[in-house]
């Protein structure tokens, strides 16, 4: 049987794709190039990787409230994440995802997992997220 987790949907929606699990928290503002989706923060261990086309797993979110704008800008340009899976609730990314849906019809569900479940999800190479928050990993 495939591994299965129950997430709380902060922004409901479905997604499926490869997982990019960040080794450390990241501020999208100043940390991700909004035109390309590449992680540019000099000291970040995942620098040079792209959030585009990935389900972005973030243990915690750091930094500026301008990250809402950066997420919306990434989704506008088609270089945003397919979905975001969080280990801690974050209102800034929720607002960015909601606005991108309203403005561009761009879907970026945001899911919240508990501490243990997050650690498991971060180990998946790919995952499928269903509308009710069920996550199937592989």
């Amino acid at each position: 049987m495939r591994p299965r987790l129950a997430a709380t949907p902060l922004v409901p929606g479905c997604a499926a794709g490869p997982v990019l699990a960040l080794a450390e928290p990241l501020s999208l503002w100043g940390g991700v190039d909004p035109a390309s989706g590449l992680i540019v923060e000099p000291r970040h261990p995942d620098r040079g990787r792209s959030v585009a086309g990935h389900i972005l797993a973030m243990p915690a979110v750091r930094g500026s409230s301008s990250s809402s704008s950066v997420l919306a800008e990434l989704l506008r340009g088609g270089v945003g994440p397919l979905a975001i899976v969080l280990g801690e609730p974050d209102e800034i990314l929720v607002v960015g995802a909601i606005v991108a849906r309203e403005l561009y019809g761009a879907d970026c569900p945001v899911m919240l997992l508990g501490f243990d479940d997050y650690a498991q999800a971060a180990g998946y190479a790919s995952m499928t997220i269903e509308a009710d928050g069920t996550i199937f990993g592989a």
């Binding site: 902060l10 409230s65 301008s66 704008s69 950066v70 506008r76 209102e91 607002v95 309203e102």
Partner: protein, 417 residues
């Protein structure tokens, strides 16, 4: 759980009060769901940071609201823009980004926001009072409102700030809840160190240390000089917000919700306690420098925006030190403070001394410095914290007096070392 809406709020969400309110309510309800709130509360004012241009999405969003004929429901002030609207010739960026920056401001004005263009809205006469629920964005304004004014705001930001202004309500969550405002950490200032806190740059260094210890808790600082000024607390809060996302602190015996330590801490639970001494402050001061003491290209003051009292001190230091300024010397402030110092006759003196006053924006978010990658000296911990990443700036940190003397010498001068 479900969110309990009043009839008026439910009507707004379902479109009964127009598309503008409906758009805003959708964002507020999503925010409530994410923050676990079970109801929405009214706010009396808002402060909006979304007026700084971050790309086409910034403009698309404000146009989505203006097309829906949205209007703010409460008095709403604006944070800094991408350029100085009163002195546009100071902007060295490209024309397209200047045009976009202006269009963004126009959009927010069309929604009914006030053209205050400042990150220090708390320096206005009319400001929120104790216990007042407001929706403020911009990290230094948030921490000042909660800590020094005793007003109540959660951490709003791009999109959620103007949504709250239009909806007139916010989730009952975060620092709107009295129990969330109690300290979970005590920061004890070494009694021998407290008297050495004399300049905003010292309070900035303390703020950095406080932010590094905070880890999501509200800190209560014990042992600050009782005559600590609002400018000093501004520098402390801005630095703590930069290094540790601090949205509220108590200065025991100074700020309104901490007449004494017992009033500020969580009852029935002894909070963790850390002690801050002179060596830790020195380390924080040193950690802000990304360039060695030597020749400098510029001085930048006013992050957060300079107050009238800070201009008064700057004038005194300029007059009280020999020589004249030899490098670029920038001070960022609001258009309201500019009007006040112009009325006092100070602006001409400052211009004559080689000081350029920047309004409506800030030298670390706008392309203003002649050589952003050069070595800039500042007394602002927030500027020193962010400018290396924002501008590729190289930074030297020091007191107001050291900044002035260094500007006159063309190289770093330490008067108090």
């Amino acid at each position: 759980g479900e969110i309990d809406l009043t009839d008026e709020q439910a009507d707004g969400l379902s479109g009964g009060r127009g598309f503008g309110v409906q758009h805003a309510m959708r964002i507020i309800v999503a925010l409530a769901r994410a923050s676990g709130a079970d109801r929405l509360i009214a706010v009396t004012r808002a402060h909006v940071d979304g007026v700084l241009y971050h790309g086409q999405a910034s403009l698309d969003f404000v146009e989505w609201l203006t097309m829906a004929e949205a209007r703010v429901a409460v008095p709403t002030t604006l944070n800094v823009a991408s350029l100085d609207l009163l002195h546009p010739w100071l902007f060295r960026g490209n024309q397209a980004s200047a045009t976009a920056g202006r269009r963004l401001v126009d959009g927010y004005l069309e929604l009914g926001c006030l053209p205050t263009m400042t990150c220090a809205p708390y320096q206005a006469q009319d400001r929120p009072g104790l216990g007042e629920d407001v929706a403020w964005a911009e990290s230094n304004a948030i921490v000042f409102a909660n800590s020094v004014l005793g007003a109540r705001t959660a951490r709003y930001g791009d999109f959620s700030d103007i949504a709250a202004a239009i909806a007139g309500c916010v989730p009952y969550a975060g620092l709107h809840r009295p129990e969330a405002r109690l300290a979970g950490l005590i920061v004890e200032l070494d009694p021998d160190t407290a008297p050495s806190l004399t300049d905003e740059s010292d309070f900035g260094a303390l703020g950095l240390v406080v932010g590094e210890f905070a880890a999501g808790r509200v800190p209560a600082i014990v042992g600050l000089p009782p005559d600590s000024t609002e400018d000093a607390l501004k520098a402390l809060g801005a630095a703590a917000a930069s290094s540790g996302s601090v949205a509220m602190f108590h200065a025991v015996g100074i700020t309104p919700e901490a007449p004494d330590l017992a009033a500020a801490v969580v009852r029935g639970r002894a909070p963790a306690c850390v002690r801050v001494d002179a060596a830790m402050l020195r380390r924080a001061l040193t950690s802000l420098a990304t360039a060695p003491d030597g020749p400098i290209d510029a001085v930048s003051l006013g992050t957060p925006h300079f107050s009238v009292r800070e201009f008064e001190r700057l004038r005194a230091v300029l007059a009280g030190t020999p020589g004249s300024i030899r490098v670029e010397f920038w001070v960022s402030t609001s258009r309201a403070v500019l009007a006040e110092i112009t009325g006092l006759g100070w602006l001409d003196d400052l211009a004559g001394a080689g000081v350029t006053v920047v309004t409506d924006t800030c030298t670390y978010v706008s392309r203003i410095l002649r050589d952003p990658g050069g070595i800039t000296m500042t007394n602002s911990a927030k500027w020193a914290f962010y400018a290396p990443a924002n501008l590729d700036a190289r930074v030297v940190y020091g007191s107001l007096r050291d900044c002035v003397e260094s500007a006159k010498a063309g190289r770093v001068v330490r008067t108090s070392a």
